[in-house]
């Protein structure tokens, strides 16, 4: 019973904070404000994007034309979250500094991991 209450209680607060970061990220993509969007990427994701593109994150991210639709659902389990919009699935991880994007522009691949434009498996 304690496990049920812990899961339910922690879930609602974590969903709000994960969604808030996802909202900020999607808003920055739509604005467009690449610097703000890049600041919300996990460090590893940002550096992988820079090394794969040979450009700064601020230059590489807008070129991917990631969709910036409003959030329709949020699912949080432990330190991981999945946020869906009408056109996209975004993954987040909770670091000591807060929630950061670990995958964006992710497409469903059945039982296999999502295929993401930024970050991902």
């Amino acid at each position: 019973m304690l496990a049920v209450l812990l899961v339910a209680g922690c879930g609602a607060a974590a969903e709000r904070s994960a969604q808030s970061v996802a909202d900020d990220f999607l808003h920055a993509l739509g604005n467009p404000d690449a610097a703000a969007a890049c600041a919300l990427l996990a460090e590893q994701v940002s550096s992988d994007l820079e090394s794969a593109s040979g450009r700064s994150c601020e230059a590489a991210l807008p070129a991917l034309h990631l969709p910036a639709e409003p959030v329709v659902s949020v699912r949080v389990w432990g330190t991981e979250a999945q946020v869906r919009t009408k056109a996209d699935t975004v993954f987040l991880h909770e670091f000591a500094s807060g929630w950061r994007i670990t995958g964006a522009g992710c497409e469903h691949q059945g039982e296999r991991p999502y295929d993401c434009e930024v970050g991902g498996p």
């Binding site: 496990a3 699912r75 432990g78 670091f95």
Partner: protein
């Protein structure tokens, strides 16, 4: 105090062993959890965050449910099943719920019988099933806790691997849930079966779990 400890040695010692092992599990589990988080590029998690996490809860609950299942089944199965020569079994001719005379109920209660055994009616019926009922409830509660905590831990892994999380009905029919469940059940059933049959032929002098050293292999329901 010394007398209390002597009279309650089994429960005190096993209570302390349980607490010591649980504390040990929290430290070892935390170190392992931190290693896994770091390997995934995450940050270290605090000790408190770990002991309130679903990872810790599922590891505890999956062992608790199987232990309570073991004792629930042992309590219930030994009503109807016997093992010739085993001190864990009752005598071969006493299969079933036994007579009121054997069980000291109805007209056969004694002055020292527990109050609910003497009262009669639903209280005595409930009291006569109380050990199995409590073990059964503890088993089902622990198993439910395992399923909830297990789903949470499993879904966190799923999201970290960029795959979709499962709902509770999906999780309780998943390979992860049944793998965790059955790996515990098989070891409990092995232990019960081994104890029932080994105690026919082997002895431990002074233990009530064993027959007296000189007792015949064919003697059932006797402890020494």
């Amino acid at each position: 105090m010394r007398r209390f400890l002597r009279d309650n040695g089994l429960s005190v010692v096993f209570g302390l062993l349980f607490l010591g092992s649980l504390v040990g599990q929290t430290f070892a589990g935390h170190a392992d959890y931190v290693n896994r988080q770091l390997a995934r590029g995450g940050d270290p998690v605090s000790f408190w965050a770990y002991v309130t996490s679903s990872d810790f809860a599922v590891d505890v609950a999956e062992n608790w449910q199987s232990e309570y299942l073991q004792f629930f089944l042992y309590v219930m199965a030994t009503v109807w099943l016997v093992q010739r020569g085993s001190p864990e079994s009752k005598q071969l001719g006493r299969i079933g719920r036994e007579s009121d005379e054997d069980q000291l109920v109805g007209r056969h209660v004694t002055e020292s019988s527990p109050r609910w055994a003497r009262t009669g009616g639903w209280r005595t019926v409930l009291f006569a099933r109380s050990l199995g009922l409590v073990m059964g409830v503890l088993f089902l509660s622990s198993w439910l806790a395992q399923s909830v905590a297990g789903m949470s831990a499993f879904n966190a892994e799923q999201l970290a691997d960029f795959t979709d999380p499962l709902t509770w009905p999906q999780y309780v029919t998943s390979a992860d849930f049944w793998s965790r469940t059955l790996q515990n059940w098989q070891s409990e059933f092995l232990a019960i079966g081994s104890m029932a049959i080994l105690s026919v032929y082997l002895r431990e002098r002074g233990s009530p779990e064993s027959k007296p050293v000189g007792a015949s292999h064919t003697v059932t329901d006797e402890s020494g």
